[in-house]
Symmetry: C2
């Protein structure tokens, strides 16, 4: 449609009813700089308004929502992202992940990014211990990175992060004063393999001392996530893979607070009594091992993102 | 339906698709403490998810939305409420106002509260000047408060606030350091009347230096509101009236950035050359006058608000 010939007829601009206001708001955005921005905003306004009408939102409830969203924003900092946590606990993150990376074929399934990924994680050589002094049962993490057909990818970037044995990420440990632990970037070797050491994570609650915690309590939902290790894997020409591996047998495996569990990502965290790791490292006691073979998806034609237009 | 006999059958808890995740999230909230909270959240999740599916929200767009909402919360302070401004500019505030106070009968129409109302505004005796030193053309504000049948209400609480001749509210004037100007609380006299002095406001832009301003720019919408004076009127046994009066002839009367204009709230701001005000006040130059007869609605049965349950 040519915008110059499709000018909509004038809508009412005064005396707007609870019904008529929706079209009036969408009309006001007809000249948006980006067609995509206009499309997204029209849908957002339609759904936001339909929600308020469907539940006949009271003024007290509206005020409560304003306060909730305000506090959610104000709970965000360099070490915490309460809006991502809200998106995660409302299932929106899993929805967006599945929209953009639907489970299919041989490629490894994606799951939510979560609020604890950090940019500029330290780079380590193969075999390093990313616990960096955090105590716990030693965990040997190994894997391979391939394409969908199993051809190994050398030099792939493997970003790993996880919680400590008490369920805390480094950003939640005040004593670290911002220092990074339990996270690191590796690169696959010529055989497409990587390995490192860390300590075994456990199931943990998402942060409940903010607005999201209040929402979970009002819903009588627990805040627990099954034990997992995060991976973000990148290789040129392939879709970025954001995923976890989950511990088989975890009691929260069927009630993840953020709806992220997928069968194909559940693996055994195997206990080993021998005092030597797979790479020859000598250990004082028992250790655990996990291994996962990741399969990346070839890049499809990229959609033009909205961000550049909207930020202009 | 009795909740104990209506237990839904078990839903999938793993491998959730972009479709299936919606029911899984709603199922997780079945045991909510409040039936109203459960109803509101189920509708919210349904509409939020439908929006994301309808536009096939990309991960970049999701990240942009997280950042936008985070900054919106972080732009809120004692002197600014960016989430109310977002609600206002997306038409949600007008929608909620009309849902809860639909225009009908003889009662004065309601319009949006806006982000600039302050609690604990100073109380003044009838005839006081709420400008309190802010310069501008003198404005004589008078009115009456009645029920729908025109019976005057004595002792009604009349909270008035507005912007200065440059379009700024007191909270936006850093030099005031939090002191209140251009706002005050009056009470109607035994004849249900009130009057005071201030200075004439003008059309002004809503704040555009935050995330809402970015949204307006991307939409190519102007940020202007037609000149107006805010009123919040309360009397025992009557619905609280939150409204404005708008200046007749204002160039933005048909494109209010927050969709709040109603014909019945548009009145002339009449210019007077005489050097004496209606109450005998002696003036140096010309002045303006506005007058409005407000009609309150008898209280209807109140719905139980969600807030107490959700806050527990």
């Amino acid at each position: 449609m040519n915008p110059s010939t499709s000018k909509p007829k004038a809508l009412a601009t005064r005396n707007l009813s609870a019904q008529a206001v929706t079209a009036a708001v969408i009309e006001r955005m007809q000249s948006s700089r980006s067609a995509r921005f206009k499309e997204v905003m029209a849908s957002l306004v339609s759904h936001l308004h339909a929600f308020a009408r469907d539940v006949h939102l009271s003024e007290d409830e509206w005020a409560l929502a304003i306060d909730f969203l305000t506090r959610t924003g104000q709970n965000c900092s360099d070490s915490r992202q309460e809006f991502i946590l809200l998106s995660d606990t409302l299932g929106l993150s899993t929805l967006v992940t599945q929209l953009n990376h639907p489970s299919q074929g041989q490629e490894t399934e994606q799951t939510v990014l979560g609020p604890f990924h950090r940019e500029h994680s330290p780079h380590f050589p193969s075999g390093a211990d990313i616990a960096q002094g955090i105590e716990g049962k030693p965990l040997y993490i190994s894997g391979t990175v391939s394409d969908a057909k199993g051809h190994r990818l050398a030099g792939a970037r493997v970003d790993i992060w996880h919680a400590d044995p008490s369920g805390a990420y480094d950003v939640q440990m005040q004593s670290l004063e911002g220092a990074m632990r339990l996270r690191g970037v590796f690169h696959t070797d010529p055989q497409g393999a990587f390995h490192c050491w860390s300590v075994k994570p456990t199931a943990y609650p998402v942060p409940t001392d903010g607005p999201v915690g209040t929402m979970l309590k009002a819903s009588r939902r627990h805040a627990m996530r099954p034990a997992h290790v995060h991976f973000m894997i990148e290789a040129k020409g392939y879709d970025r893979l954001i995923t976890h591996v989950f511990e088989q047998g975890d009691r929260y495996i069927d009630s993840d607070a953020v709806f992220g569990v997928r069968d194909a990502l559940i693996i055994p965290f195997t206990a080993h009594r021998n005092k030597t790791g797979p790479d020859g490292r000598v250990l004082k006691g028992s250790h655990y091992r996990i291994h996962y073979d990741f399969h990346l998806r070839k890049i499809a034609v990229q959609k033009k993102p909205m961000s550049k237009d909207a930020k202009r």
